[in-house]
Symmetry: D2
Subunit: 111 residues, 4 copies
């Protein structure tokens, strides 16, 4: 992750894009990329979506969109000085308390 964070930062620095990379703008860009990812799945049945990676073309598009989402998420976290993996781990610990296995098992209730 550190290497990726640094590569994304260097990419922006070299192009003088720090001026555009405010938290607000990056959050918007992240949402825009997630929108493109959604577009890959929106007309697929659940069955088709489950095997999307078996299709070379669609699979490559999905992988590229996920790459885009990860780039902006990494950049946003860097700009905010948040460790992405730590934030996820801490959140997971918190959610585990809110949804204990005994109660949450197999239930689709709000999660």
């Amino acid at each position: 992750m550190k290497d990726l964070t640094e590569r994304v930062r260097a990419f922006a620095d070299e192009r003088d894009w720090q001026q555009f990379h405010t938290p607000k703008n990056l959050a918007m860009a992240l949402a825009g990329e997630v929108g493109e990812l959604l577009a890959e799945f929106q007309w697929l049945t659940p069955e088709q979506a489950s095997v999307v990676m078996a299709d070379a073309e669609a699979g490559a598009r999905v992988r590229a969109e996920i790459g885009d989402v990860m780039i902006y998420l990494t950049r946003l976290a860097d700009v905010l000085d948040i460790d992405l993996e730590d934030a996820a781990r801490d959140k997971l610990t918190e959610v585990a308390t809110r949804y204990p296995v005994s109660e949450a098992k197999g239930s689709a209730a709000k999660r």
Copy 2:
């Protein structure tokens, strides 16, 4: 990252949530979490957004939302058998060709 991927997977497995964690559903959940992240920034001026982490309460909320986004992105990548960091690195390489430093420097044109 591997450790995080495995923790998220174990979290879902223990709760029998694999049935809900289809690519389509996870892409939607990811978008939902990004929506919550946007909500943290939407009424802030760029200046306020830039110092959001200095506010203990707002900062904790932003970090938690970023954690949520990372959890679902990690889970989606895992379900699709995509290496998140590799996908980001490959995309970065591709984008670097499309926006060479010489042309992209300081320009806000579509990126």
Copy 3:
């Protein structure tokens, strides 16, 4: 629509919220509300989603989220001086040319 546009505008004016209602902020708020709408559907099977309005509680939540999305979309269009229905009609005409019935019939290809 005119009546709704005016009611939303009056709502914002009375609260001195014009200062927050910039196009950028409103686009983010719109995306945030769409995220909440997605959250209503994300864990449902297609079958469950198709009958969501038959469930009084979930149906009311979906209707309220759609109301929220419509409020922000109406407000954003008003601030940009765009007629929402005209914009939709014009886009529909354009898309009809791009996807003529003869070619698009029953096909899930990019639309």
Copy 4:
């Protein structure tokens, strides 16, 4: 609005797209279009975003994206048998109670 709803419905019917237009898929498509709308604003300063309609090209793109969002929102509401304007009006009434003018005036607190 009725006319628009009917035109969008006819558009889908003629192309046999009802099969793709499930609530879940339409919510995703709506989010995807909102993502494209966000992309129009993401690198603009608040000042630039405020005059975006004065630029013929960018203005046309924003109008087209708003048209797309409205098309999918109209279609989603139709499929769920929700009156879009009524849903917005009811929500506005509810929110007015939650944020009375006397308390909400000029405040950026959660809205």
